[in-house]
Amino acid sequence: MTPLHIRAFTATSCIGRGLPAMLESLRAQRSGLMPCNFETVTLETYVGEVPGVDDVRLPAELRRFDCRNNRLAQFGLEEDGFIDAVSASVSRWGGRRVGLFLGTSTSGILDTEVAYRQRDPATGALPASFDYAGTHNSYSLAAYVRALLELEGPSAVVSSACSSSAKVFGSARRMIAAGLIDAAVVGGVDSLCLTTLYGFHSLQLVSRNPCKPFDVARDGISIGEAAAFALIERPPDSLDRDAILLLGIGESSDAYHMSSPHPEGCGARAAMLQALATAGLTPQDIDYVNLHGTGTPSNDSAEGKAVAAVFADRAAAVAASSTKGATGHTLGAAGSVEAVICALSLRHGLLPGGANTRQVDASLGFEYLCANRQRPIARALSNSFGFGGSNCALVLGRAC
């Protein structure tokens, strides 16, 4: 594929609002996971809650979109000059030539859950203030961001569970390559809600402790929330040395099970190999792998096998980690959050050690970083896998 320039990017999660705060937390190997005190949830678990989301106010004319998910989107968009970068892109190309592709798994469902507690006792009706299209529908995220950023190009939400906001890069790439648009805003926003907290709990996939991906004693995920965005365009004729490029993308399906990965990681392996192939790279070109690494025994085992198979005899030389011990699993936002973390890694030469992991699973065929490492790197691979066997891998790199 033709590389695409990631002209601007930003992320907000429980380890910080905006890039400087995220970077500082990664440098300190600080986890943002805290004992769950969210809403009325009574589960014994840790969550990655973003402080301050409740206080966010949407612009008055867009009040119909008011829900936790769109507040988190607003909170994230305000950082790192992202809105100005998008405005400049709209001025350059025209609003109709800028697409919008965002990932979310649950959109504004929290507000529906609360509305279900407030049903009219006589009729069963939801409160009159409930706005289905503005908050509940999966597309409400993109409808809000499209209105806020005054974008008029093609737009869709990808909702393929935990691969959602990695796959948006693929949709944007195809639309740019097809000549429909010149630039795209991509990203993902998922916010804490009872559906995912109680749902993952029912599947016995949630840890009681802060998640510890790839640890021998890993015992489940910690759910987080996040908003992450990137502005991507065709590269200009000359790029700064620290410019970040999207070099490759691979997508596959497991065809194995709805909520468990293929035990050998077949689909994951196919996605990584395709990402490398579209980038025109081989495994030895990759300096760092940001693993999906959710912290469940079966997910990490399958991904470990897939990474070992892809990197084969070079596996011992590749450095890899999951940053979910720091951020929690941000579900539909994870793909974009971790693409942004890879972009930070490339820009600052920081290979982030995975937080919380103490004793790495000895069966891994590659080096799992428990401590940060500082060295210049050129290319990073980011994995995102979701329910339904939906896999996506991205390759990002520095311009030189």
Binding site: N137, Y139, S160, A178, T195, Y198, H257
Partner: protein, 265 residues
Amino acid sequence: MLTAYLQGVGLIGPGLPDWRTGAPAIAGGEPYTPQPTVIPVPEGLPPAERRRTGATVKLAVSVAQQAVTDAGIDPEGLPAVFSSSGGDGLICHEICQTLASADRQVSPTRFHNSVHNAAAGYWSLATGATAASTALCAFDGSFAAGLLEALALVTVDRQPVLLSAYETSYPEPLRATRPLPDSFAVALVLTPAAGPNPRARLAVSLRDGATADRLSSPQLEALRAALPAARSLPLLRLLARREAGEVVLDYLDGQRLAVEVRECR
């Protein structure tokens, strides 16, 4: 301009059990008699998986099977675009109801079936398809968003693609806030090369500010206006009539999709 050859069509809607049966009514040659949509049981799923699937997955997978059979194409290597204006409304309602109750014991099967990409997941289980699939939503523009994504895949990556666009209706109380009257689904198989027997050639482009085409039959127009997947009906009418021409379909605020149908057989 994005182009693709149409190889197969699937259709399930009110009084429209499949494409072959429904096409004459959509073409206008036969009267259209609305009947509640009958959702078939899809083939290929192991019995345990079949028992776990809800109406939305059955609808999306069945209509996809129709299109793949019509195209005579092996689904195993076929990338797929699933697009729906909502997930499974009944499952969503049941989860919200449980979470509003005292015990909050969500059913694990219901939870993993609640994801928007459940249909894509079960499709790959039913067919063994390991190619990429995606699950999109663009509210009332979900059919056009899916068609655009599918055409981009065909045009840019030179791959054959399955598109399945579908919705089922919500139960109360969500139904009052999103009144979808019944279930509707349409599926298309699109390829970069003509092959021996294409149904038509499609060319798709964005169209600013135009209004979407309407249908002359009041009943079919009511269907088109009420159900996002049925926003495809102006295109299906050309295909059913085996006519070349251009239609404009609903997409986003201020943005429509123009579909030119050529070489229609």
